[in-house]
């Protein structure tokens, strides 16, 4: 093993599951190696990539593991590497995600708090060019500035994002690590922690930059996985969720917005506008300030006001598309009982 992959002191191992990430894996590893608090070990799991992801990772001086066969999911790849982790903390970072230089240093204190099993950071798209990336940029700015800090205050962030989260290794192993039963292994693990009485923290100062889908083809794969993953997790955890006060309301509200409100949006609002009063069309615009205010607040701090304003319309398109995917997922998973089992990479 190369000396560069080991750095004593932090008690942290970073694992990077990667499948055909040749275009981005070097940037990811370099950003981890350049941290103000470097991890003790970096493990890249080359999940039988058909490109040279493994060779590129090896050239950066990190440990590269290759399972006997493709594991079929990110969760599978991470579980394969978990046996090799001997540090008290383990971090999962996607193969296309880079970190701000002090991200690990800022995130680690949160996971060391008593009762905390995992901590996650602020996520922002690395590239903001296409309409889909712009929509995601506003979505993340809004959610991580307004929703997530409130969830953290109430002690229940809905999800510890899989692209950049740190976990206590002993609790991770004790809770069965990353389950492969759903398409959203990070949400599954987060809710499992809550059911077991553990805490999860959100640290807005620790920032990561994943590459988001740049076209509809890749975005649709990701949205399908996420929406089915959400519904699958609700199905898996519903009786446990109902006993967790804040989380149960949050999940029910999200499910309501994604289903009943979607039907109102696509069907009832247009009918009301045609047959009752055209003012019902305002329903499509009424929450623009709710989105724009937190987005602009964060954008001012990041000196990205023009970029955020230019991206705002894309958010409403993305949300429209999100709603279609969630409706499809509810129909497939709950009504038709057709569970999505094939993990398709989003980009």
């Amino acid at each position: 093993m190369d000396i560069k992959s080991r750095s004593p002191g932090s008690g942290l191992t970073v694992m990077v599951p990667a499948y055909n990430e040749a275009a981005s894996i070097v940037d990811t590893i370099r950003s981890i190696q350049a941290q103000t608090l470097p991890p003790e070990e970096i493990i890249v799991i080359d999940d039988h990539s058909s490109d040279n992801t493994g060779d590129l990772a090896r050239s950066c001086g990190v440990t590269v593991l290759r399972p006997p066969a493709n594991t079929g999911s990110k969760a599978g790849a991470q579980n394969f590497a978990l046996g090799q982790v001997h540090t008290p903390y383990v971090m999962a970072i996607d193969g296309d995600t880079t970190l701000a230089p002090n991200a690990i240093e800022l995130l680690m204190p949160a996971v060391k708090e008593p009762g905390v099993a995992a901590a996650c950071g602020f996520v922002l798209p690395r590239h903001v060019r296409s309409i889909w990336e712009r929509g995601r940029y506003v979505e993340y700015l809004f959610a991580f500035t307004f929703y997530k800090p409130i969830q953290d205050y109430y002690g229940k962030p809905m999800i510890s994002s899989g692209c950049f989260s740190v976990y206590r290794t002993d609790l991770l192993k004790a809770n069965g690590a990353w389950s492969t039963r759903t398409m959203a292994e990070d949400m599954d693990l987060t809710w499992t922690y809550y059911e077991a009485g553990h805490g999860v923290r959100f640290v807005p100062e620790a920032v990561c930059y994943p590459i988001e889908p740049h076209n509809y083809h890749f975005m649709s794969k990701q949205l399908k996985r996420w929406s089915h993953g959400f519904v699958q997790n609700v199905r898996c955890h519903w009786s446990g969720l109902l006993q967790i006060p804040f989380l149960r309301t949050m999940v029910v509200v999200a499910l309501w917005d994604a289903t009943t409100a979607a039907i109102a949006y696509f069907l009832i609002l247009p009918l009301l506008a045609i047959f009752v009063n055209p003012l019902f069309l305002l329903g499509y615009l009424i929450d623009i300030p709710c989105v724009a205010v937190p987005v602009l607040y964060k954008a001012v701090g990041r000196k990205e006001v023009v970029k955020s304003l230019a991206s705002l319309p894309s958010f409403f398109l993305l949300r429209f598309v999100n709603s279609l995917f969630v409706l499809e997922a509810v129909w497939s998973e709950i009504v038709m009982r057709r569970t999505l089992k094939v993990y398709e990479k989003g980009h």
């Binding site: 979505e139 809004f142 959610a143 500035t145 307004f146 929703y147 800090p149 409130i150 953290d152 205050y153 109430y154 949205l223 996420w226 929406s227 959400f230 009786s239 109902l242 006993q243 967790i244 006060p245 149960r248 309301t249 949050m250 029910v252 509200v253 999200a254 309501w256 917005d257 994604a258 409100a261 979607a262 109102a264 949006y265 009832i268 609002l269 009063n277 055209p278 003012l279 019902f280 305002l282 329903g283 499509y284 615009l285 009424i286 929450d287 623009i288 300030p289 709710c290 724009a292 205010v293 937190p294 607040y297 409403f316 949300r319 999100n322 709603s323 995917f325 969630v326």
Partner: protein, 164 residues
């Protein structure tokens, strides 16, 4: 991913309500000496955002009302024959009325969902407790020994169960 929908969704109102509840909750924490200074920073920032959101919503409604008034004037003067019905519908009072109706509907929906999840949560918590109690070994206290005890029966049984 956010799939909440404009106007019809309740996610926005839910977060606004619980954001407003944050300082009240923190004051309770303070009363029980478990309040942290760092949490007040988050509360202040969130409340600032909430105030800005309400201000911008008010501005939006005022803007839409003004636009309706202008449109009503245009329709009456230029297109009054063809759009007489539409002109009546686009009254200046319509926008605030619609906003109030949408907000009321969202609040009622939110309250109903909250109540339903709370009741279901209570039911499942009780069921889980009953199941865990049923899984415990049956303990039959000695009635003859209790005859010599002066404590209430329930307290006696619990104490004996712990001793077991």
């Amino acid at each position: 991913m956010i799939a909440g929908l404009p106007g019809t969704g309740i996610g926005g109102i839910f977060y606004l309500v619980i954001a407003i509840a944050m300082p009240i909750r923190e004051l309770f924490h303070k009363a029980y000496n478990c309040s942290y200074r760092s949490r007040w920073g988050v509360i202040a920032l969130t409340l600032g955002l909430v105030v800005a959101i309400f201000a911008s919503l008010w501005a939006e409604v005022a803007l839409v009302s003004a636009a309706c008034l202008w449109l009503q004037g245009v329709l009456q003067t230029d297109l009054h024959l063809a759009n007489a019905g539409l002109s009546e519908k686009l009254s200046a009072a319509g926008a605030p009325l619609f906003a109030c109706m949408a907000a009321s509907a969202a609040f009622i929906t939110l309250a109903v969902l909250y109540a339903v999840t709370r009741i279901l949560g209570y039911y499942y918590a009780r069921r889980a407790k009953r199941r865990s109690q049923a899984a415990r070994p049956v303990f039959i206290p000695d009635q003859r020994l209790y005859a010599r005890s002066s404590e209430p029966w329930r307290a006696y049984v619990e104490r004996q169960r712990v001793l077991e």
